[in-house]
Symmetry: C2
Subunit: 325 residues, 2 copies
């Protein structure tokens, strides 16, 4: 490995001078500058970021903790977080919690030991206190820990309203809502509150079905749908809290011989790319994932640099009507 000393030696100057050239600090004569540059080139020198980080007490790394990047929503989130982090001169350390609190906690410790600039928390398996005592810039996605920790979410309540109102407007008389486990205190639960509110307002019959805690166990969806259609054969509208669930609902309906959207209308949530790869294309509520990613990085940076920042960030959602409603 070639260090700043090697360059200094070969260039016949001190390490300070090389460092100055490197960082464009202070005054250097044009001749030494170009000489140093030439030697750096010759030796193929690249400054050691680790040494820099040690000095700076910061690694320019953003830790991104998600349940599972292979889930389309988090894959897109990771994609955008990386995009904006890169623009900020930061790197992204990818951490899957795989819904394991131990792993999530270990990752948090690891990130702190590596002096990351901050942590974007997309996974939430720990207790509130564990997040509170981080002493590191942090942003949570879709969960509000307390007054202090900034969070980002899309307007879940509005999303729930939009989806529900659409089904009603289309004339649905009995609507099923399939949501995640409401025990988890996620902001996504507001979609369900909105559903309940709108339905009560319109005095339409409805059922709410909670899925298992494990969002990644897709096997459960098939049977949940089947049971729903069996126990409530008169359901003519389904609002699913994710596109994946909605896709399984669609599949279940087709298998059960129902026509979509004629017999039963279906709308999902997230607007992941895959919904438009298949036919019929799924109606969905679109979250501004790119903006969520951008804001995550910005909020980390602002906290890190001691700039003021907003703690509650609720982003607008958009109804994407396609062929299943």
């Amino acid at each position: 490995m070639v260090t700043i000393h090697d360059v200094a030696l070969k260039a016949g100057v001190s390490v300070t001078t090389v460092s100055r050239v490197l960082n464009n600090r202070g005054y250097i004569s044009e001749s030494t500058r170009s000489k140093v540059y030439r030697i750096m080139e010759e030796l193929n020198y690249h400054p050691n970021e680790i040494a820099r980080s040690l000095l700076r007490k910061r690694s320019n790394i953003i830790g991104l903790i998600v349940p599972d990047v292979s889930h389309p929503f988090f894959a897109e989130l990771a994609n955008h977080v990386e995009y904006y982090a890169y623009q900020d001169g930061c790197k992204v350390l990818l951490c899957n919690s795989h819904l394991d609190p131990v792993k999530e906690k270990e990752y948090i410790e690891m990130l702190k030991r590596n002096m990351v600039d901050g942590i974007v928390m997309g996974s939430h398996t720990l207790q509130v206190d564990d997040y509170r005592n981080l002493h590191s810039p942090i942003v949570t996605i879709d969960r509000q820990i307390d007054e202090e920790i900034p969070y980002i979410s899309s307007d879940n309540y509005r999303g729930g309203e939009l989806a529900t109102e659409l089904l009603i407007a289309k004339g649905c008389k009995k609507i099923a809502h399939i949501c995640g486990n409401l025990e988890l205190k996620l902001l996504a639960n507001k979609r369900s509150s909105a559903f309940r509110d709108v339905m009560s307002r319109h005095d339409i019959e409805y059922v709410i079905i909670q899925t298992d805690m494990n969002v990644f166990d897709h096997a459960q969806y098939g049977s949940i749908i089947e049971r729903l259609l069996r126990e409530h054969p008169d359901v003519d509208g389904i609002f699913a809290t994710s596109d994946i669930i909605a896709a399984f609902a669609l599949k279940g309906c087709i298998k059960a011989g129902k026509k979509v959207p004629e017999d039963i209308r279906i709308i999902g949530y997230d607007d992941i790319g895959a919904v438009s790869w298949f036919e019929p294309e799924l109606s969905s509520i679109k979250q501004p994932i790119s903006e969520i990613g951008r804001l995550s990085v910005e909020l980390i940076r602002k906290q890190r640099d001691g700039e003021p920042f907003i703690r509650e960030n609720i982003l607008p959602v958009e109804l994407m009507e396609r062929s299943t409603t």
Copy 2:
């Protein structure tokens, strides 16, 4: 930030001793050991990994460069690489090249400056020489750079055979193959070679359509399919080189009023999760992505530690027959 010095001071021992306790090296009396542990606890001390890395000349980080994590294949790859890296005590730095050679090169430089243990290259926008002169443990996915650099791919040729032979066995009389741009010297091109070989052997009519370089521009797929069906209305089998393309083909066929698989049979490649979320479920060739991830990490580790390793790693594929064939 609390350092090893603070612990040493409060415990009334030297930093050396604390370091020994920390790393379980040399002899320490049980009493000092427990005292040190207690103080570490009290002070909530966590060793600074950056300082360690500086000394060790290694960050325990694996750089993962992919075109785009939001693509299901790479999302799954990232997921598994992270899984196995974690088991090895390594972290994963996520790098999207977004098909930009400049960004890819900058990422490579950055990773070297950060003394990563190695680089998993899933993106290939650079020239062969750029990869050759890395002087860092590296593994390429689905591309063979030269004799030296280890690569991992699934058995693309066999995959191509399986897909093609299935369509033929089902009685297809005119088969279209939609593949990526063959200019790019990717091992995935062997799928197309296999297709051509098998078709010639059986003397069946076929067409081969290359898509654009940009794999992430899904907009092109719709029109490609439409044109295919228009120019070759008698095609009764499609072998697409990715599930996404296959999904668009499926959609195009349905829109064109064709019944799948009765009028036309379709098979994709990769077996991404999404294919089984929708109806009809897509037949596909499954790549062992988990094993690819595991091997990537193993090959980095072996190179890093100077252990012997295998340079050519071709993993078996599997035919997943579902409802579209």
